[in-house]
Amino acid sequence: MSSHTLEARAHELAAAFSAKDYEKCATLLPPLKLMLAQLNILVPLPSSDPSLLVLARDILEIGALTSIFLRDDVLFSRYVAQLSSFYALKDKLSPPSVNEKKLIALRLLLLLSRNDIAEFHTDLETLEDEADTDQYIRYPVMLERWLMEGSYDKVWKATTQRSEVPAEEFAIFADILVDTIRSEIATCSEKAYPSLPLANAQHLLFFSDESELKDFIEQRGWTVENGRIYFPQEEPDALQNGVAMESIIENTLGYARELETIV
C-alpha cells in the first residue's frame, strides 16, 4: 500500500464529491479510511509526514460533508471528532483547511438542532474570536442567541430564506430547526394565551396552509371551537401537593439524621 494509490483514490473521491455524487462518495470512503489507518495517519502524530496529513485531512473533510448530505448525524460527529486532532496541528499543516470553519459551524448547528446547548457552548468556547467574525460560525451563534431570547421570527427567517443561509449544507438543518421552534412556540402559547384564533395561530406557527395546522393541533391535543384554539389549562392538582409532602418528610428525616450525628 503506497501513498500514490492513496492519492489517486483521493482524487477520485474529490471528483465524485464535486460532482455531488454523494452515494459514490459514501462507497469510496471506507476503503480510503482503511488505507489511512494502514499508513498510520488516521490519527495525526507529531512525527507523521505533513503532506500525508493534509491528504488525510482533506479526505476526512469530504467524508464529513458527505455524511451531512446523507443526513447521517452519528457519522458526521465521528468525522468531526477525528478532524479536531488535525485542526489542533494547524501550524504544521499547509495549505490550511478551507472547510475547517464550515465544519465547526455545521457541528454547532447539529448540536443546536439536537437542543444540546451545554455541548454547544463547550464547543463555542474554543473559538472565542471567530464567533463574531467568521461568516459560517456566526450563523449558528446568532441562531442560538435568538432561540434563547425567544426571537423565533428571526430564526424562521434565517433558516428558511436562501439568502440568509451561508452555504447549502446549512439548509439541511432547516427542517429540524423549524420543527424545534414550532414546538417551542406551541409550548409558549399554551402558557401565554388563554385562546387564539386559528388564522393567527397559523401565522404564529409559520404554517403555509390550514391542513398542516390542523395536523399540528391534533398532535398537541388542543381543542378548537368557533374558529379559536383553546389550550388545555393545567390545574394545580393534588398530585403536586403529594410530591411536596413527600419532600418535606424526606427533608425532616434528613435533618433528624444529621442531628443524630451531631449530638
Binding site: D153, C188, A192, Y193
Partner: protein, 499 residues
C-alpha cells in the same frame, strides 16, 4: 496544646515576614545582615524539614512552604550558595552541582568539610532545588527556569517518600508554571498524566491534588473544555488536600460548569473557592478572578450581586467593568448593556468571561420585561418593543410568550388586541418557595458543621492521654462510689439512730 503553641509561633513568624517586607526602616540594615537573617531562616527550615521527616509530621513541611513566599522576595544567589554549604556535606553532590550550574557560580569549597560518605536528607535536597527554582522564576528567565525544572524533576522522581509530598507538589507547580511561560501546554500533558497515576497509586494526596489542578488549568488554557470536564468527572479529587489547592481546583470546576450552563453548580464551587482562598493581598489576583466569574454567574442565574462587593478596596478597580455590566442588567437596559460590552470588550476577553457575558443578553431582556410586568397592569406589545429596542412587534410577542413559559413573569397575551395583561402577583408564602429557601439554609448549616468537624486537627496518640484521664476519672468515681456507699450505710445507721 502543642499544636496551638506552634500555631501561635507561626502567626508571629508570618507577621514578622510581612513586617520585614513593609517597613522601610529595615532597609537601613546592610545587605550582609539581611543575608545573614535569610540564611538563618533557611537553616531553621532545614531543622523543621528534618523534624518532619523523622516524626512523619507533614505539618512541619507545610510550615516551611508557607514561609516560602516571604523568603522568596529576599533570595539572592549568594544566599543560596551559602545555604548549599549547610545543606550538602559535599560540593560534589549532584543537586549542589546542578544549582551552582544554573546560578553560574563556583562552589565555595573552602568552607566545606569534605565527607563524601554522608548523604543529604531528600527533603532538604528538594527544598534547595525548590528555592533555586523560585529564584530563577523571579529572575524572569523562562528558558533557564525551564531547563532547571526539567533536571530538578528528575531528582524529585528518584525519591519515593511520603514526607516529601508537600514539597513535591510545590515543585510540580513551578515546573508546570515554567512550561506555561514557554507556552508548552500540550507537551507536558503526558508527563502530568503519568505523575497523576503514580501519585494516585502511592496515595500521595498533595501531589495528586496539585497535578489535577494543573491539568485542569492546562486544559482550560488550551480551550479543551470537554477534556477538562472528563477529568473532573472521572478523576477523584482528594478533598483533604491543602486548602489553597482545593480553592484553585474549585475555581476551575466552577469555570467548567459555567461554560456548560450548570450555573448553580458553578456558583457553589466559586463560593467554596472564594471562602477557601487565603484572604490576604498575595491572593488578590485569584480572588479577583473568582469574584469576576461569580458576578457573571449570579447574573446568569437571574440574581443581582451585592453592591457592597464592588466597594471593597481589593475589588473596587478590578471589578469596575463588571459593576457597569450589573447596572445594565439590573435595569434591563439593552442598549446600555451593548455599550458596556463594547467599551470593555478587551478587558472581558482578557478575563475569559466574554463568551459568558454574551449569554447575558437574554437576561437583560427578561429583566426588562419583568420590570414592565411589575409596573403596568396592561401594556401594548408595541410599547414593549420600543422600550426594549427590539426589531419588531412580532419578536416582542414571542419573547414575552417565552418569558411567561419560563416563569419569569405572570401574565397573559391578548393576540388580537396586541397587549400583555399582567396577572395578580402571587402570594409567595402560599407556595413552596419559603420551604425551599429554609431547606437551602439548613442544608448549608449542616454542611458547614460537617466540614468544620472534618477540618479539625486530631493529634496522634492524643486519645491515649484522654483514655488515661478517663481511667483516672473512673477510678476516682469508683472511690467516690465506695465512699458514698460507706457514707450511705453510716448515714442510714445515723438515720436509724435518729428514729
Amino acid at each position: 496544646m502543642a499544636a496551638e503553641d506552634s500555631k501561635d509561633k507561626e502567626h508571629k513568624e508570618e507577621k514578622m515576614d510581612i513586617d520585614v517586607a513593609d517597613k522601610p526602616a529595615e532597609k537601613e540594615k546592610s545587605p550582609e545582615e539581611i543575608a545573614g537573617l535569610v540564611l538563618n531562616d533557611i537553616k531553621q527550615n532545614f531543622g523543621f524539614l528534618e523534624k518532619a521527616a523523622n516524626n512523619f509530621e507533614p505539618r512541619f513541611s507545610m510550615r516551611v512552604l508557607r514561609g516560602l513566599g516571604g523568603l522568596r522576595r529576599r533570595l539572592t544567589p549568594d544566599i543560596i550558595v551559602s545555604a548549599l554549604d549547610a545543606a550538602y556535606s559535599s560540593p560534589d553532590h549532584k543537586s549542589a552541582q546542578l544549582v551552582l550550574k544554573y546560578l553560574e557560580r563556583e562552589a565555595t569549597s573552602s568552607t566545606m568539610d569534605v565527607d563524601a560518605s554522608a548523604t543529604v536528607l531528600p527533603e532538604i535536597d528538594i527544598y534547595m532545588l525548590l528555592l533555586t527554582q523560585v529564584y530563577l522564576l523571579d529572575q524572569g528567565d523562562a528558558e533557564k527556569l525551564n531547563a532547571f525544572s526539567d533536571e530538578a524533576i528528575v531528582t524529585l522522581r528518584s525519591y519515593n517518600r511520603r514526607t516529601l509530598d508537600a514539597l513535591a507538589a510545590k515543585m510540580w507547580f513551578y515546573y508546570a508554571h515554567a512550561k506555561e511561560l514557554s507556552n508548552m501546554f500540550t507537551e507536558i500533558r503526558p508527563m502530568l498524566l503519568g505523575v497523576l497515576r503514580t501519585a494516585t497509586l502511592r496515595h500521595d494526596t498533595e501531589t495528586r491534588a496539585m497535578i489535577m489542578t494543573l491539568l485542569l488549568r492546562n486544559y482550560l488554557n488550551t480551550q479543551t473544555i470537554s477534556q477538562a470536564h472528563q477529568l473532573v468527572l472521572k478523576g477523584d479529587f482528594p478533598e483533604n488536600a491543602a486548602t489553597s489547592v482545593v480553592a484553585r481546583y474549585l475555581y476551575y470546576v466552577g469555570r467548567i460548569n459555567a461554560i456548560q450552563l450548570n450555573y448553580s453548580a458553578a456558583n457553589e464551587s466559586l463560593i467554596g473557592a472564594i471562602r477557601k482562598a487565603p484572604q490576604t493581598k498575595y491572593a488578590a489576583g485569584f480572588l479577583q478572578a473568582a469574584q469576576k466569574l461569580k458576578v457573571i454567574i449570579e447574573l446568569l442565574m437571574g440574581d443581582i450581586p451585592e453592591r457592597s462587593l464592588f466597594r471593597e478596596p481589593m475589588y473596587k478597580n478590578a471589578l469596575l467593568p463588571y459593576m457597569d455590566l450589573v447596572q445594565a442588567v439590573r435595569i434591563g437596559d439593552v442598549p446600555q448593556f451593548s455599550q458596556t460590552i463594547e467599551k470593555y470588550r478587551d478587558a472581558f476577553k482578557k478575563d475569559g468571561t466574554y463568551m459568558l457575558i454574551l449569554r447575558l443578553r437574554q437576561n437583560v431582556i427578561k429583566t426588562g420585561i419583568r420590570m414592565m410586568n411589575l409596573s403596568y397592569a396592561k401594556i401594548s406589545l408595541r410599547d414593549i418593543c420600543i422600550r426594549l429596542h427590539l426589531d419588531s412587534e412580532e419578536s416582542a410577542e414571542y419573547i414575552v410568550a417565552k418569558a411567561i413559559r419560563d416563569g419569569v413573569i405572570e401574565a397573559t397575551i391578548d393576540h388580537e388586541k396586541g397587549y400583555m395583561q399582567s396577572k395578580e402577583i402571587l402570594d409567595i408564602y402560599s407556595t413552596q418557595e419559603p420551604n425551599i429557601a429554609f431547606h437551602e439554609r439548613i442544608k448549608f448549616c449542616i454542611a458547614l458543621h460537617n466540614e468544620s468537624v472534618k477540618a479539625m486537627r486530631y493529634p496522634m496518640n492524643q486519645h491515649r492521654v484522654e483514655l488515661k484521664n478517663v481511667e483516672e476519672a473512673r477510678e476516682r468515681e469508683k472511690e467516690l462510689a465506695t465512699e458514698i456507699q460507706q457514707g450511705d450505710i453510716e448515714d442510714d445507721d445515723g438515720d436509724f439512730d435518729g428514729l
